[in-house]
């Protein structure tokens, strides 16, 4: 009975995961892909629960579904990424290559599974928050701390990238005001390049964000004219 239930759950969530994953790479619209991926994550979270790892399951939902993918969706919406344009493929040969490599990978794994066979295992109770916390803060304190440094680096890196984007209009503005034509930088306020083929939506967002960035920069530097950067 229980066996049947767990098999059923595995099939359900595993099937969902595979289905969503397939959907993710089949979909041409990145947003659909993203939502499919969220589906994979949630399915995997459910699998983790069946594997008696509730903490990881919850973190999976919070981090992957709740943070990373929200960011991705946010970016997709912000950039208004459209369906992949069908244009003459430059690297057409990659599709058969991918298929071949995928087949090899699958073959290898199942080769291993077939020959290694089942592993005896014991019922688990290690997935509780307390055991994870104990492991994380005793034996694995160093990886944990390194991870925190990594995250700090990521924060700084992301801020740097974002700030560079904010600097560009400033330079463009000063270049414009000095009459220099052909500036390599774009002015996101008057440039429609930032919006996609869907006019009127993200263009407004982009303009608003850029204008706010300029405003903030100017108020920080305390002058109306930006300097050459």
């Amino acid at each position: 009975m229980l066996e049947l239930t767990s098999v059923f759950l595995f099939m359900l969530f595993g099937g969902m995961a595979v289905g969503c994953a397939l959907s993710m790479i089949v979909q041409r619209n990145p947003l659909y892909s993203a939502i499919s991926l969220v589906g994979v994550f949630v399915s995997l979270a459910c699998l983790y629960v069946t594997l008696a790892a509730p903490f990881i399951a919850a973190v999976q939902v919070i981090v992957y579904a709740g943070a990373i993918m929200v960011l991705v969706v946010f970016v997709i919406m912000l950039l208004n990424v459209e369906t992949e344009v069908r244009r003459p493929l430059r690297l057409r040969y990659l599709i058969p290559v991918a298929a071949g490599l995928s087949f090899v990978l699958i073959a290898q794994v199942f080769f291993m599974l077939f020959f290694v066979g089942p592993v005896s295992s014991a019922p688990s109770n290690v997935g509780l928050t307390a055991s994870i916390g104990a492991g994380l803060f005793t034996e694995y304190i160093l990886p944990f701390e390194i991870t925190s440094v990594l995250i700090l680096m990521a924060i700084v890196g992301a801020m740097t990238l974002a700030r560079r984007a904010a600097d560009i209009p400033l330079a463009a503005r000063s270049a414009d005001s000095s009459g220099a034509a052909g500036s390599p930088f774009t002015d996101p306020i008057n440039d429609s390049r930032i919006s996609g083929s869907r006019p009127g939506l993200t263009e407004i967002v982009g303009r608003e964000m850029a204008a706010r960035a300029i405003e903030r920069l100017e108020s920080r530097t305390g002058r109306g004219q930006g300097e050459e950067t």
Binding site: V18, M24, L51, F55, L105, I106, L113, V116, T147, A162
Partner: protein
């Protein structure tokens, strides 16, 4: 109990899908998501092993992998936005020269 190999097989399938996606997809964000899928496939093996061998280490690694993935998302998306602002396209094949 579900046999361990089932989870491993599932993980392998997901990983393969992700790997194939990285090669096939041209959109930077889609590639990014495929990489996340591969990470998750690995996470699944970690959790499965951890659970089957009753050892918490695997789950700790999953935890750390998630932290790495989060960092990667922050920086990666920042880069994607920067690329988009300069090229008005997310097609990685367009970005084949190390120049803006």
């Amino acid at each position: 109990m579900i046999p361990l190999s089932w989870y491993l097989a599932l993980s392998a399938v997901l990983f393969t899908i992700g790997a194939a996606g990285v090669i096939i997809k041209r959109n930077a964000i889609s590639m990014f998501m495929c990489i996340e899928l591969m990470l998750n496939a690995v996470n699944l093996t970690f959790v499965a092993f951890s659970s089957h061998f009753n050892d918490v280490t695997g789950q700790l690694f999953v935890f750390i992998v998630m932290a790495v993935a989060a960092s990667e998302a922050a920086v990666g998306l920042g880069i994607i936005i920067a690329i988009f602002r300069n090229r008005e396209s997310l097609d990685v094949d367009e970005a084949s020269i190390l120049k803006l």
